[in-house]
Structures are given as structure tokens and as C-alpha cells.
């Protein structure tokens, strides 16, 4: 499904353009909230989506369900990111809401989820303590990761030469032939996704403010990336292959950086 925008989304004045990547990493999301789910199936865990492990999942007992995190205090939130889910396969619709003190208010309207690609919901910042997703329609899905936070916004867009993450399929295929050359079968093994992101003309001031935080987060945990949300819906739940270090471009204070990632494949 990828990127989902709030209805009538208006880019906040101080935000970077939507041609620029949005990254949700461990130093931007709020973990440690108190989790409550409307129901949880046997052998699944309500707390599962609150860590980065994709195999410890929450599954409700019915398709109409909610999963809530109480952050303990009001936080400014502008994204909800979801990975390792089956909402596409299960034919679900998704809604993202916050508690406004008297009722649940939607930031992402009820949206049909077409596939199992990670979801990156982008909305105007709202400060609230309690956040939840609401599932409806279809059959009960499984969800491995749910994160709420304020995204890191890259100050530059990615230009030519980028191979979209969703097409970087690391699939091994093998054919079999008989002694006389007849085709006997073909096997495949779908592994992960691979891509590389390159940014240039990042100022030293921006790097000092934002990049180190990302580096430290990426050392420990996966992150979400929507590389060009304005035009392309690809969203990846990625691991950095190595700690992405900026390199001086010898043009004033500008730096460039390359981030090579592997991402969880879903189809």
C-alpha cells in the first residue's frame, strides 16, 4: 500500500517538500507506550507491534479491531508506520486516530489496504497522548510493527539513478532439465529487497542536527523510508547494511551520503 496521506493534507509551512524522503527511525518514534488491543488471538501478542521484531505479531480475533498505544504524555505526531502486516491479503481497511480528550478523531480516514507493503501514513502534526489504528472489513490480519512519531525529513530529494526499493527483489531461481533436455521444473526463493539511497548537498548544520541521530538509530533497529512520497508510494522497512557516513563534497559545507539497505520483502 505504501504511502497514505491524510485527507486534504496540507504541507506544514516549515516542512520539506514531499519530493523529499521521509524517514521514520528509532529516534523519531515513541516506544514504551502502554499497549491495549481490542482482542488478541491465541499465540499472538498485543505488545508484539511495539518492538521492531517482525515475527512477534498481534492478531485480533475479528477483523473489526483496534490497537492503541498510550504514550504517557502528549506527543507531536505526524506519522504512523506499519510493517510485517497482512492487511492487504486479508482485505482490511485502516484508519489512524488519536484521542482528543473526548472522542477518537481520525487523521487517516478509512483506507482500503491493497497489498502487504509497509504503510507510511503522513498527516499534519497532532499533539496527543493516545493513538490507535482501527481495522475493519476482511478477515483478521497479523501485524508485526506499528510506530507513531515525527518523521525525519530529508532536505534534498533523490535524483536520477535510484532503483526503487520495491523492485530490488533478491530472488534466487533455478531450473531443472532432464538428460534429454526436457524442462522438468523451476524453483524460486524470494528473499529480501535491496536498494541504495543517495543524497547530495546536505549542509553540515543539517547533518549535525539530524543525521547522527539517524545513524545511531540505524545501528540498532530497522527504519521506515518513503523515498519520494509525493510521486511514488514505495515504502520500505529497512536495515542499513553499514552505518551511513556522510562524505564532504568539497563544495562549501555540503556533504553527500549513501545509504545501502536491505528491506523486508512482502510479495
Amino acid at each position: 500500500m505504501g504511502v497514505i496521506f491524510e485527507s486534504n493534507y496540507t504541507l506544514p509551512g516549515s516542512d520539506q517538500p514531499l519530493a523529499n524522503a521521509r524517514i521514520a527511525h528509532a529516534n523519531t518514534w515513541y516506544a514504551g507506550g502502554t499497549i491495549a488491543a481490542s482482542s488478541t488471538a491465541t499465540d499472538f501478542f498485543a505488545s508484539g507491534p511495539n518492538n521492531s521484531l517482525t515475527y512477534e505479531k498481534w492478531k485480533p480475533t475479528s477483523a473489526t479491531a483496534t490497537w492503541e498505544t498510550d504514550l504517557g504524555s502528549p506527543k507531536a505526531i505526524d506519522y504512523c508506520a506499519i510493517a510485517a502486516h497482512t492487511m492487504g491479503t486479508n482485505g482490511n481497511t485502516l484508519e489512524v486516530e488519536y484521542w482528543n480528550g473526548s472522542a477518537w478523531a481520525g487523521v487517516i480516514p478509512s483506507t482500503a489496504i491493497g497489498d502487504n507493503m509497509p504503510v507510511f501514513c503522513i498527516f499534519e502534526p497532532v499533539t496527543a497522548q493516545r493513538w490507535r489504528i482501527s481495522i475493519s472489513n476482511g478477515t483478521a490480519p497479523e501485524i508485526g510493527v506499528i510506530r507513531f512519531g515525527a518523521a525525519m525529513q530529508m532536505p534534498q530529494a533523490i535524483y536520477g539513478g535510484h532503483s526503487p526499493l520495491d523492485y530490488g527483489r533478491m530472488t534466487r531461481s533455478q531450473s531443472a532439465y532432464s538428460m534429454s533436455g526436457e524442462f522438468l521444473g523451476r524453483s524460486k526463493q524470494r528473499g529480501w529487497l535491496e536498494a541504495s539511497f543517495d543524497w547530495t548537498h546536505l549542509t553540515r548544520a543539517w547533518i549535525d542536527t539530524y543525521w547522527k541521530s539517524f545513524q545511531k538509530a540505524a545501528e540498532s533497529e530497522p527504519f521506515f523510508i518513503a523515498w519520494r512520497p509525493e510521486d511514488f508510494s514505495e515504502v520500505g522497512y529497512c536495515q542499513a547494511e553499514r552505518v551511513p557516513a556522510p562524505t564532504s563534497m568539497s563544495i562549501g559545507s555540503y556533504h553527500s551520503v549513501n545509504v545501502a539497505v536491505t528491506a523486508r520483502a512482502y510479495d
Binding site: 532432464s178 538428460m179 524453483s187
Partner: protein
């Protein structure tokens, strides 16, 4: 296209059935008491009330975490830490013909490599929510698991293989018993080794009869009719039976606890070819194991279940009985085993002397039994066009297994002496094909000696000698080949015919020779299966005498496989096929 043809995607799941207490900490009948941090992990090693440990199992599933692994019906919680599964398959030793291998063949085993990782203790710790620490930050999954599961020897390990979309229950499953592990190593890998259940038959583990504890309390003379043994009670011996003291066997009709241990009465001294003699205090009174005119399948079941400790649920005894009744009902076994002997050795002897074999079918999780016999069902034909993978087929002769003379020793003279000493046998049956030893054929003799303590009569020993000669007078051939996974239903113990230009007769026609698969291994899981097979053409074919009035031979394509049509004087049918022969 079906799942196992184009676009197939293999799913591999490992299941470890970890022993797990079914009780809740501190709830009756569990008497353990402690704070949340002190609670056990429902394993025996961490149990605080072991008298009330209620054994059950907890299934832990592991996958590689590929796309196809992400949603397997029947698996709700799978840890994606599986790195590789390496198998070493069962290899049958047909009738113990391969003297350089164990009579039981090779044991199947599997090495499973896991990547170690932090873990939240979900699933493995029933009380995780009450702990005061975050288990994800404490040690690794396997280091914690090993500490909590110190007693692992009877853990069942299963390897499932299927294709994307298949439910776990529909996948092929192979079952093993935990053997050992290594790691975690410096790279964070753990390797678990598991073996097939017949590993329990290995010599150091299984002996029959069991060693007896009783020792003579006093000296006894050659005519004494009762003896008392200390260091034992009556429960150490059956109510009636046979004892071996020194080189003498004696039967007893009763035994009872007595002042100094257990006393045996109603002795008949010097039985089974031995001589009554005096014995000294302290000599061991060893219980003997006697079988008298028993079915092969029954003896094997007794040895495996009662002496090797293999659960009866793992013995396919109903089909064993059918196999025995169908193909060797005339073979009965009689023997007296006078000292603890490896079950491995005894089963090997029985295999050779009854022309049968057993093996662990890891797919069906059963020990299977088969009699070497003629075929009564037409085997499938595997061709180089439709089945055999390119570059995978090879043949080799096995000259070590050729037999020009079969010597079967029978009627043991003294059951307490060595059975491999030719001087200890009263009779020998020799079947020979002297032509095969001539210069125009193999040019040398090849003798196979069989010390047949289980077949104490002419009626049993003579057919064994003849059978052995017939089956091995020509050099057996071994074929190795690989099949695509679409044909992976063929497995160990199956018989097939191979149709290939690599094996032809003198006129260049394909022989379509018959082979019995003695080893099968999925060398690339879900993709490629590698086979080793031994020629079985000499095992013959079982014909059915046809009813009076049956029609003429209709040709090979439509004639029943076992129908015995009358051929011409040259033994050939109207289309050149060889007709049935009564020999």
C-alpha cells in the same frame, strides 16, 4: 502448473518439541512458591517442584524468514533464525550384503544451523510479563534456552518441507531425536544435531539380554538343583527362564526372594549343548534371552521395543506382519542369546538370515520392515527423458558383494562359545555356482559365510544358502541419480526401473533394469532429490498361476504383471518377453 512444478517456492520449517510442564507455577498441584522473578520456565531443569512436574511439550518453530515463510498456516509463532538444514539420509544395507557397512545401514541424521539472537522470551516464558527485567536485553535466545533445557536427549526434532501456500500439516515432515549441539560460536551460530530413532540401537545403548546383577551366594556342584544369588531380587529375573553361569546354561522353573537375594529352583543343568559343572561363589548368573520358532517381525519388535527402548508407536508392526505373511511366512527364528549382546548385532544377523531389512523412514516417522522378495507389482519406470536430471546418472559395479559360494553354518554346538568359530557348528550348507568361478566368467571364487544361529534346521538354512547364491551370483550394480522434486514421492525402500541409454543389453536395447532405492536425500530441499539404488533384477518376480481357461498371452502392454503365461521351448513369449519359470 501445480505447486511442485514451475514457480514453486520451498518452505522449510524446523520444529523442536521442548519438554514443558503443563501446570501453572504455584497452582495446585505445583507447590513451588516464589516471587515473579523467581518463577520457573516450566522446564524440568528450572522446576522447583520436580515431583509434580507434568510433562507435556511446547513446540518451537523456526524458519528462514523468506517471503514464503511469513504466513504458514498452522504456525502462529515462528522464529526466523534458521540458517540451514543439512541432512544425511538413511542408507539401507539390503540383507546385510554390504560387509563393509553396519548391518543396519547408515543412520539418518540432520544438522540444523540457527543464528543466535536476542529474544523477548515470549512463548518460552509463561511468566515473562511479571519479570522485573526486559528479557530482550538479557543474553541470547539459545544461551537462555540451553540453560533452561539441560535435559534434551529425548527431544523430538522435526523438519518440514513444503511449498508456499501449503499448511504445515500438508508438508513433508522428517522426524529425528535430539543428539547434540554446538555453540553458540563466535559467529553467533548454533548447530543442533539430531538422528533417527534407530540410533538407540547402537551397541553402547542397547543390549539384549540386559546384564543381570545376581551372583552366586555359595559354591555350587554340577548336580545342584537350586541356586541362591545375592545382589539381586526376583524382579531382576523372569518367573521362568534360562541362566548362564560360566560356560553352562541351565533352565529354572521358578524363582523367589530369599534370605540372601533370590533363589532359583527346578534347575535343569547343562542345557543347550553346554555341560553341567561346578561354579564358585561370586560367579554371575546371567539371564539368557530365548526365542523359539518365532516370526521375524515379532522378534525384531521385541528387540527394538524392549531392549532398544524404541516406542511401539514408532514401529510399523501392522505392516510388518503383512509383509512377513506375504513374503516369508516359512521363516521362523530360534535362538538363545546367553550374554548381553548389541541389539545392533542381533538385528543385523536377523536381517541377513531372514533376507529382510529394517530402516527408519523419516518421512513417515516409522521404523519399516521389508522382506527381500520377488516383485508382485510392476515398478514405475524412470526415464532419462522425463525424470532423471541432466548430468546426474552414474553406475558402478559392487564386486565385493558378488557370491559364487554361500556357506551357511547352522545348528550351533555350544551356545556359550563364539558364533563366528566354524568349529562351533554342527552343520553347514554350501550352495555354489562353480561356473561363475571359471575363467570365462569371474575367474575367482567369492565365498560368503553366514553363521545362522537363528535358523537351526535344514529347512531354514538350505533356502538361505540357495537364495543368497541366486541373488548375488552376478556382480550387483549401484545406480546414483537425481530427480526433480516433482518426482520426490519415490523414497527409500521403493523399487523402480531405470530406462536409459547408459544401461543397455548386448543389442543396444535399454535393459530397464530393476533397482531398489537404498538411500534418498533432498540435496536441495524441495528442488532436487538424490538417490542411491542397488540392482534388484536378480530378486525375481512373483508369478500367479493362472486359472484354467485363461486366454492366450495378450502382449506385455496388457498382460497382468504377475500373470504366468506359457512360453515356447526357449522360454520366450510371443513378443519375445521372457516367460515365467518354475525352478
Amino acid at each position: 502448473m501445480t505447486k511442485d512444478l514451475a514457480g514453486r517456492e520451498v518452505v522449510q520449517v524446523v520444529e523442536i518439541e521442548q519438554p514443558f510442564c503443563s501446570l501453572v507455577y504455584g497452582n495446585n498441584p505445583c507447590t513451588a512458591q516464589g516471587t515473579d522473578d523467581k518463577k520457573c520456565y516450566n522446564t524440568y531443569a528450572t522446576c522447583q517442584d520436580q515431583d509434580n512436574f507434568a510433562a507435556s511439550t511446547l513446540s518451537l518453530y523456526f524458519t528462514r524468514g523468506n517471503v514464503a515463510d511469513q504466513n504458514i498456516s498452522g504456525v502462529t509463532y515462528a522464529i526466523p533464525s534458521l540458517v540451514s538444514v543439512s541432512t544425511s539420509p538413511t542408507r539401507i544395507n539390503l540383507s546385510s550384503a554390504n560387509k563393509s557397512a553396519s548391518g543396519l545401514g547408515n543412520r539418518a541424521s540432520v544438522k540444523i544451523k540457527f543464528k543466535d539472537h536476542p529474544h523477548t522470551d515470549k512463548r518460552v516464558d509463561p511468566y515473562v510479563d511479571g519479570r522485573s527485567w526486559d528479557p530482550y536485553l538479557r543474553a541470547s535466545f539459545w544461551s537462555k534456552w540451553f540453560a533452561r533445557n539441560r535435559y534434551r536427549q529425548n527431544i523430538t526434532v522435526k523438519v518440514y518441507e513444503g511449498y508456499e501456500g501449503e499448511a504445515l500439516g500438508a508438508m513433508t515432515v522428517r522426524e529425528y531425536v535430539w543428539d547434540s549441539f554446538t555453540g553458540p560460536d563466535a559467529d553467533g551460530n548454533v548447530v543442533v544435531t539430531a538422528k533417527d530413532i534407530l540410533a538407540k540401537v547402537e551397541e553402547r545403548k542397547a543390549l539384549a539380554p540386559v546384564a543381570s546383577p545376581g551372583k552366586l551366594h555359595t559354591n555350587i556342584a554340577s548336580g545342584t538343583s537350586h541356586v541362591e544369588c545375592n545382589s539381586a531380587t526376583e524382579s531382576d529375573y523372569p518367573a521362568t527362564g534360562t541362566l548362564r553361569i560360566g560356560s553352562e546354561c541351565m533352565t529354572y522353573t521358578s524363582r523367589a526372594n530369599s534370605a540372601n537375594g533370590v533363589t532359583f529352583s527346578g534347575l535343569t543343568r547343562g542345557t543347550d549343548g553346554t555341560t553341567a559343572s561346578s561354579h564358585s561363589a561370586g560367579d554371575t548368573a546371567q539371564q539368557c534371552l530365548r526365542y523359539t520358532t518365532q516370526r521375524t517381525d515379532d522378534v525384531l519388535a521385541d528387540l527394538l521395543e524392549n531392549y532398544a527402548g524404541i516406542p511401539s508407536t514408532k514401529l510399523d508392526t501392522a505392516n510388518w506382519a503383512t509383509e512377513y505373511d506375504s513374503f516369508s511366512p516359512s521363516v521362523t527364528l530360534t535362538a538363545l542369546i546367553t550374554k548381553p549382546t548389541g541389539v545392533n548385532q542381533l538385528v543385523s544377523e536377523i536381517s541377513e538370515q531372514s533376507s529382510s531389512y529394517i530402516w527408519w523412514d523419516e518421512r513417515d516417522a516409522l521404523v519399516k520392515f521389508k522382506v527381500i522378495s520377488g516383485l508382485n507389482v510392476a515398478p514405475d519406470i524412470l526415464t532419462e527423458e522425463s525424470h532423471i536430471l541432466d548430468g546426474s546418472l552414474s553406475f558402478r559395479d559392487l564386486p565385493d558383494q558378488r557370491v559364487s559360494q554361500a556357506w551357511v553354518y547352522y545348528l550351533l554346538d555350544d551356545v556359550t562359545r563364539s558364533i563366528t568359530d566354524a568349529e562351533n557348528w554342527k552343520a553347514i550348507q554350501i550352495s555354489a555356482d562353480l561356473n561363475a568361478e571359471g575363467d570365462n566368467e569371474y575367474g575367482e571364487k567369492s565365498v560368503r559365510e553366514i553363521f545362522a544361529r537363528w535358523l537351526p534346521s535344514d529347512a531354514l538354512a538350505v533356502p538361505l544358502a540357495n537364495r543368497t547364491l541366486t541373488r548375488y551370483v552376478d556382480v550387483p550394480r549401484e545406480a546414483r541419480f537425481r530427480l526433480d522434486a516433482k518426482d520426490r514421492t519415490y523414497w527409500t525402500g521403493d523399487t523402480v526401473r531405470l530406462s536409459t541409454d547408459m544401461e543397455v543389453d548386448a543389442f543396444g536395447e535399454r535393459r530397464q533394469a530393476t533397482y531398489t532405492i537404498i538411500q534418498a536425500e533432498e540435496v536441495v530441499p524441495g528442488e532436487v532429490v538424490e538417490y542411491m539404488a542397488i540392482s534388484a533384477t536378480a530378486f525375481g518376480k512373483i508369478y500367479r498361476i493362472m486359472a484354467a481357461g485363461s486366454g492366450d498371452y495378450p502382449g506385455a502392454a496388457t498382460a497382468g504383471y504377475t500373470d504366468a503365461y506359457i512360453g515356447n521351448s526357449a522360454g520366450v513369449l510371443s513378443d519375445g518377453e521372457i516367460c515365467a519359470r518354475i525352478t
